[in-house]
């Protein structure tokens, strides 16, 4: 059963069309890679899936299981199990990592009629997840992403995902600006989630991260559409030649 089914998705921002009919299906627990050059519409797709108000869907649908979420609010999508790891995570000065993630988890528990974790149980889970990603304990009290390095911000995205446990994790260039150690750490977190059944969309320019998060299918975007689909062989072809050659 598909988790996410995108049909003929057309999106504009500031009256400028960006996506020109994207079709994509991501099955439950599947790992999918989306590659493409800058400006091909990858980030627009990610932000549109998360419900960013700047992007307007002019045609097409986004279905989540049997629910049409094309017009759902960002928090509703989140409660259903969609999680976007931002390319540029925002800083929230004055809101600690501990408080922010707890507020998010509590919101999920309430939306899904679960009893929120006790503070103690939450802190245990938080510490475990931080340890998995090698995030020092001192970060728990720091303001979220405030003064964090690029790598620290990306780890904090995965930390949130590990605790919120989404059904679909969308990684928008999680690898950009990361050194190889950080890529390995982040991948470890992603694979931990994947093993518990989460589907993953990896949006990237580079093959490197796909050595650690292995996709079952690969899609290439150009000019706001998916122009080619395949498997890792497609990535190998890209490495050898170029986007133009592969998509020609």
């Amino acid at each position: 059963m598909p988790t996410l089914k995108i049909s003929n998705l057309q999106v504009e921002a500031d009256k400028t069309p960006i996506l020109h009919g994207v079709d994509l299906t991501v099955n439950s627990g599947e790992v999918v890679a989306i590659m493409g050059r800058n400006g091909s519409g990858k980030s627009t797709l990610a932000l549109t899936l998360a419900g960013h108000p700047h992007y307007t869907v002019t045609d097409g649908t986004i279905n989540w299981d049997s629910t049409n979420i094309t017009n759902s609010s960002p928090e509703e999508r989140s409660h259903l199990g969609l999680f976007l790891s931002f390319q540029h995570p925002l800083a929230l000065p004055g809101i600690s990592v501990t408080d922010f993630i707890r507020a998010a988890m509590t919101a999920h528990d309430q939306a899904n009629h679960r009893t929120p974790l006790s503070l103690r149980d939450y802190l245990v889970q938080l510490r475990e997840a931080m340890a998995l990603l090698g995030i020092p304990n001192s970060f728990a009290k720091r303001y979220l992403n405030d003064g964090f390095s690029g790598g620290e911000k990306k780890k904090l995205e995965i930390l949130q995902a590990l605790l919120i446990k989404p059904k679909l994790l969308i990684l928008d260039e999680i690898d950009s600006g990361l050194d190889i150690d950080a890529i390995k750490t982040v991948s470890k977190g992603v694979n931990t989630l994947h093993k518990t059944g989460s589907a993953v969309i990896v949006i990237t320019h580079y093959r490197r991260i796909l050595n650690y998060i292995k996709p079952e299918s690969v899609h290439i975007m150009a000019d706001g559409k998916i122009v080619k689909s395949g498997d890792m062989a497609l990535v190998d072809a890209l490495e050898k030649s170029s986007y133009d050659a592969v998509t020609a």
Binding site: G94, D99, H108, Y143
Partner: protein
């Protein structure tokens, strides 16, 4: 124009059904201001002649002074619609059921204790302070600390009162200082003898004190050499008044090597013009800290000031303003460096939402002879929606070439991206904006006593309700 309903239809219409039965006040002057009003106030208080003369002279100043041409819109302020004196009595009682439900709900949701709620709403006569207050009173007395309402202080300590009254904020300083000098009533008088450190913030344990709250209160604080005190006034719960004008004067004298922190949190109802002159004089090595939070009112114009008159004196001014629908917070700070090696730090944080408006208006002045001074001004504004507005009016008058000045101003149009980020984690928009606003003001809130901080955070939550589309 004499009809106060004009000010704010929503709030005033609530008052028509609640509050205010004039016959229950022991004494109340008719609306409007003239010499007979001032004479009557002086008569009622049996004041010494010098104070009566000061009042009358101030009334003449008030008539001469123009309204400030800058700041907020005062064109609807009708001096004839104001009652200038109501003698406080022990029998002021209104029925709790007459208090508008919106106000009662706010108290409940802020978690204000029952006894305090009634007081705040003008229902209870006097908030019964706990025994801890009496013990503290004994301790202060033994140390020579004088902590009284200003009327009592004038009666019991006329010599100190006369020595300092009006020395920091003279009547001719501005129209509202003149008005206050003419009709002042209530307020706090605080005298800390040399070398005395008052450990517990005053007002913290009994923050509600009948005589401290008024429309034209006058506060005078004298900290003798090497002393320390933290004074706290106000509260986060809305202060309701039928009178549309609050014009207070606060004077603080911080002597050599003394330190005074003065914390104010005010949340006037949205019909009130809140026009307050707060000024301190800091002598050599002294430290003056203002923490000033303005939440309510129709228009606030308030710029806590420090005149650094002694070498090495330091001023620290934290200003917080929150403006919602139909509110304008014109707040800021003034640091006037008149002596060598004096330093000042001004931090202003403002939040405007639901069509509210905030302005930062600040002055840093350094006199020609004041060498080696340093000043840092940081003002951050957070605007939550396109209908809201924020402006910055910083003024620097630096007449000494050795001054080091830092000025940073940021305006964050929230948050749409921050808001989306938080929402994408499943947090509802309203809660997300509350978190973002509370996070934004956190550097100031952490300077507040715990219960104020908690209430303030809750209050912001209440204000954010319905502010996110």
């Amino acid at each position: 124009m004499s009809d106060a309903k004009k000010l704010s239809p929503v709030v005033m219409s609530e008052y028509q059904y609640g509050f205010s039965d004039p016959e229950e006040y022991p004494f109340r002057l008719p609306k409007g201001l003239d010499e007979s009003v001032v004479q009557t106030i002086a008569d009622q208080k049996s004041e010494p002649d010098w104070m009566r003369d000061r009042r009358l002279a101030a009334l003449i100043e008030f008539g001469k002074k123009p309204l400030p041409p800058w700041g907020g819109d005062l064109s609807d302020l009708d001096f004839d619609a104001i009652t200038y004196y109501i003698k406080p009595g022990d029998h002021v009682s209104r029925d709790w059921n007459d208090v508008p439900s919106t106000i009662r709900n706010t108290f409940e949701r802020l978690g204000i204790p029952e006894s305090e709620r009634k007081y705040l709403a003008g229902v209870g006569a006097q908030y019964e302070s706990e025994s801890v207050y009496h013990n503290l009173k004994e301790e202060w007395k033994a140390q020579g600390v004088i902590f009284l309402d200003s009327d009592t202080a004038l009666r019991e300590h006329p010599e100190i009162f006369k020595q300092y009254f009006g020395t920091v904020v003279p009547a001719h300083d501005n129209k509202f200082a003149a008005l206050n000098t003419a009709v002042w009533s209530g307020g706090t008088f605080l005298y800390i003898p040399k070398g005395v450190h008052v450990k517990i913030p005053l007002q913290n344990y009994f923050r509600i004190n009948a005589k401290n709250m008024g429309q034209f209160e006058r506060t005078l604080i004298i900290a003798e050499e090497d002393s320390y005190v933290h004074y706290i006034e106000g509260c986060t719960a809305p202060s309701y008044t039928e009178n549309a004008l609050h014009a207070a004067v606060v004077e603080v004298i911080v002597k050599k090597n003394a330190r005074v922190r003065y914390t104010t949190i005010q949340n006037w109802s949205s019909n009130v013009y809140n026009l307050v002159t707060k000024r301190a004089v800091a002598h050599a090595g002294a430290v003056m800290e203002w923490v000033d939070g303005n939440l309510g009112s129709k228009l606030t114009m308030k710029y806590p000031s420090v005149y650094l008159v002694g070498e090495g004196a330091h001023a620290d001014i934290l200003s917080l303003a929150l403006a919602g629908s139909a509110q304008h917070q014109d707040a800021g700070a003034k640091a006037v460096h008149l002596a060598k090696n004096t330093t000042s730090v001004i931090t202003s944080k403002s939040v405007s939402h639901s069509g509210g408006r905030t302005s930062y208006r600040g002055l840093v002045e350094v006199a020609p002879r004041a060498s080696g001074c340093k000043s840092k001004v940081v003002c951050d504004a957070l605007i939550l929606d396109p209908a809201s507005r924020s402006d910055t009016y910083p003024t620097m008058k630096i007449k000494n070439g050795t001054t080091v000045i830092e000025h940073e101003a940021t305006v964050s149009k929230i948050g749409e991206e921050q808001l989306f980020y938080a929402c994408s984690r499943g947090i509802a928009a309203e809660q997300a904006s509350t978190m973002i606003v509370n996070g934004f003001i956190e550097p100031i809130v952490k300077e507040l006593p715990m219960e104020y901080a908690v209430e303030l955070n809750r209050l912001i939550g209440l204000q954010m309700e319905g502010s996110v589309g």
